[in-house]
């Protein structure tokens, strides 16, 4: 069964066709990778799914409902969580607070005026937040100010913030960008563990080697279009894919 369906999605920036008739089907419980050289339109596609950009034409259906026209917070409340290319966290707050906020958002919805109840009384929320932090190996930094974390830890924190919401779909934009090899492998292992629990994921990546062991299906994008979509083993040998990569800026 497909959880996310994108049909004939197009988006122009001035004269530039950032997305040109893109189709994508993400199966429930699978990891779907979108790869392609820089500037291929991967982030634009993701932004059209989460309400950050409005596509010119096309359909985005999630679990049977259209996401088009919804605001980012409505899309999140529908069960879509997102990790950014550069980590977006609450830099002035503690790591624990960073994870409690999404947990509260999941329980209380987009707005709740509970200014009288003490945050200390939210034992259940705090337990869940701490459990998620422990899951990602951040339990030791729970009371640290998030802005002071290392780059890699910030990424893991952002992932924790998404996971604590138990989303139906997790979108990751280059989760290993700027990471050293060892860190990249660690992150991929972590994502595999999460995928093993049945969470549906869309992972964007420009380095195709990173996602081969992770994804069940791979879509390859170049210049705003999907040039190939298949299982990883077949993508590797696809001549169009090799051309796109070798012909582009990336070797």
């Amino acid at each position: 069964m497909s959880l996310l369906t994108v049909r004939n999605l197009s988006k122009n920036f001035g004269g530039l066709k950032a997305l040109d008739n893109v189709n994508l089907t993400v199966e429930q419980g699978s990891v779907h990778a979108i790869i392609g050289p820089n500037g291929a339109g991967k982030s634009t596609l993701l932004n059209c799914m989460v309400g950050r950009l409005e596509p010119d034409t096309g359909i985005v259906d999630f679990a049977g409902v259209s996401l088009l026209g919804l605001t980012p917070f409505q899309i999140n409340q529908a069960g879509v969580a997102r990790v950014f290319q550069t980590p977006e966290i609450f830099g002035d707050l503690t790591v624990l607070e960073n994870v409690m906020i999404p947990a509260l958002a999941r329980r209380d919805g987009p707005f709740r005026l509970n200014g009288w109840a003490p945050i200390r009384g939210e034992a259940q929320i705090e337990r869940r937040a701490r459990a998620t932090l422990a899951d990602l190996g951040l339990e030791g930094q729970a009371l640290q100010i998030a802005g002071t974390l290392s780059r890699g830890d910030k990424r893991r924190l952002e992932l924790a913030m998404c996971l604590v919401q138990e989303p139906k779909l997790l979108l990751l934009d280059e989760p290993t960008a700027g990471m050293a090899r060892a860190d990249t492998n660690r992150t991929i292992d972590l994502l595999k563990t999460i995928a093993g629990r049945g969470l549906t994921m869309v992972v964007i990546e420009h380095d195709m080697h990173v996602v081969f062991s992770l994804a069940q299906r791979i879509s390859v994008m170049a210049q705003g279009t999907v040039i190939a979509e298949d299982v990883p083993e077949k993508i590797k040998g696809n001549p169009k894919v090799q051309e796109a990569y070798l012909g582009g800026a990336h070797a």
Binding site: V50, T71, P72, F73, N76, Q77, A81, R82, F84, E88, I89, F90, G91, D92, L93, T94, E97, M100, I101, P102, L104, A105, R106, D108, G109, P110, F111, R112, L113, N114, G115, W116, A117, P118, I119, R120, E122, L143, I145, M161, Q165
Partner: protein, 388 residues
């Protein structure tokens, strides 16, 4: 921070605050600040700043128009005195309600923008209110004369006074200006009804702010300041959070304005001027934005300096330096005199600059550093209070 989040520390902080406020007339008497007029100002501007801090300190939205809500609160309270009764309670409640409604409208519009544009919008609205109060709204505000109570007001709940004198604002019959003078250790202490009405409001305001700071709602407000983008992609609608903070702080301003009218039943448009809006910004930043005690401290210090330094003149300064040889005394007076009297703003400016340069977190940062230092010297007890 001194305001660590353990419930025990919060209870201590609250108890200390209540004690300090209740004993205000005694504590401040040695500093020449124990008289009702100034004590009332401390409490009223403390409330104003506490409320302002809920918006600015937590969400980071810097309003330059909060004096408008103060002014609206004052007008609302005086109208209550004119129409209903001289009892201050209905007047104060009405002031909070009217300024709350007013801030819903202004907040709804201004919060469509953030950063400097938000600040400019609030400033524009406040200046508009100020000008309207002098022009088309004169039937409500009585223009330049200001809104006052008169003998011909209906005051439907009060029995008609037998004599033809203006009635006094009162707390269930107890006049607000009633003062008991007590002699203690050679000090003249003044216990004033008006001050204690303001003090109760200040304590309530402080307690409510403390609850908000420690609540999930307060956490969301701090999240607004930290990263609105992340909030949106976390399923949170930032707009109602900022509006709620704006309205709450507007109601605090209305309460302060209502209390101003309660202690002195008249209201004028000058209370809405941009300088008054700027003053509460200074108070909050001077004391420490985002801290619980900071705004009260800032309000107290600014009002104290205003009262004390502005009352100094050259004679007082000369007397102060009287122990010096004549030529040195004249030089000292020459240097000091621009900073006192009407020039007290110069003192305020210098103090403000020094604090912002050396203690960007305001005076509360200084207090926190001092406590750390003392504890560090007292011997190794590790201080692990998360910063607020």
């Amino acid at each position: 921070m001194i305001e660590s989040i353990s419930p025990r520390n919060d209870r201590l902080l609250l108890a200390g605050f209540i004690l300090a406020v209740v004993l205000g007339p005694i504590i401040l008497a040695p500093f020449g600040a124990g008289y009702p007029d100034l004590l009332q100002k401390f409490a009223i501007f403390g409330i104003f700043a506490i409320g302002f801090n809920i918006l600015f300190g937590l969400t980071g939205y810097l309003s330059f128009g909060h004096a408008a809500f103060l002014g609206v609160g004052s007008y609302a309270a005086v109208w209550m005195f004119k129409l209903l009764t001289m009892n201050v309670i209905p007047a104060i409640i009405f002031a909070v309600i009217v300024s709350g409604l007013f801030s819903v409208v202004i907040g709804y519009i201004s919060l469509r923008r953030s950063g400097i544009y938000f600040s400019i919008l609030t400033l524009a609205f406040a200046q508009m209110s100020y000008n309207l109060a002098y022009s088309v709204l004169t039937p409500i505000t009585n223009g330049e004369t200001g809104l006052q109570i008169t003998l011909s007001d209906p005051r439907i709940l009060d029995a008609a006074a037998a004599d033809r004198t203006l009635p006094l604002s009162n707390f269930f019959g107890l006049p607000m200006n009633r003062t008991w003078d007590v002699e203690l250790l050679g000090m003249g202490l003044q216990f004033n009804v008006g001050y204690y009405v303001c003090a109760v409001a200040l304590i309530a305001g402080f307690y409510i702010a403390m609850r908000i700071f420690r609540s999930p709602f307060g956490l969301m407000l701090r999240a607004v300041k930290s990263n609105q983008n992340r909030m949106l992609y976390t399923g949170l609608n930032t707009r109602p959070y900022t509006l709620a903070a704006f309205v709450i702080s507007g109601m605090y301003a209305g309460l302060a304005g209502g209390l101003m009218a309660a202690t002195d039943p008249l209201a004028g448009a000058e209370r809405m001027q941009w300088t008054a809006s700027g003053e509460v910004v200074l108070m909050t930043i001077l004391g420490g934005a985002g801290t619980l005690l900071g705004p009260v401290l800032g309000a107290g210090i600014i009002k104290y300096c205003e009262q004390i330094f502005s009352s100094f003149n050259d004679q007082v300064v000369a007397a102060f330096f009287g122990f010096l040889p004549d030529w040195l005394r004249d030089a000292a007076v020459w240097i000091t005199s621009p900073f006192v009297g009407d020039g007290w703003h110069l003192t305020l400016g210098v103090v403000f600059m020094l604090v912002i340069i050396f203690l960007p977190g305001g005076l509360m940062e200084g207090v926190t550093r001092l406590i750390r230092w003392v504890r560090g010297r007292a011997g190794g007890r590790q201080v692990t209070v998360p910063a607020e």
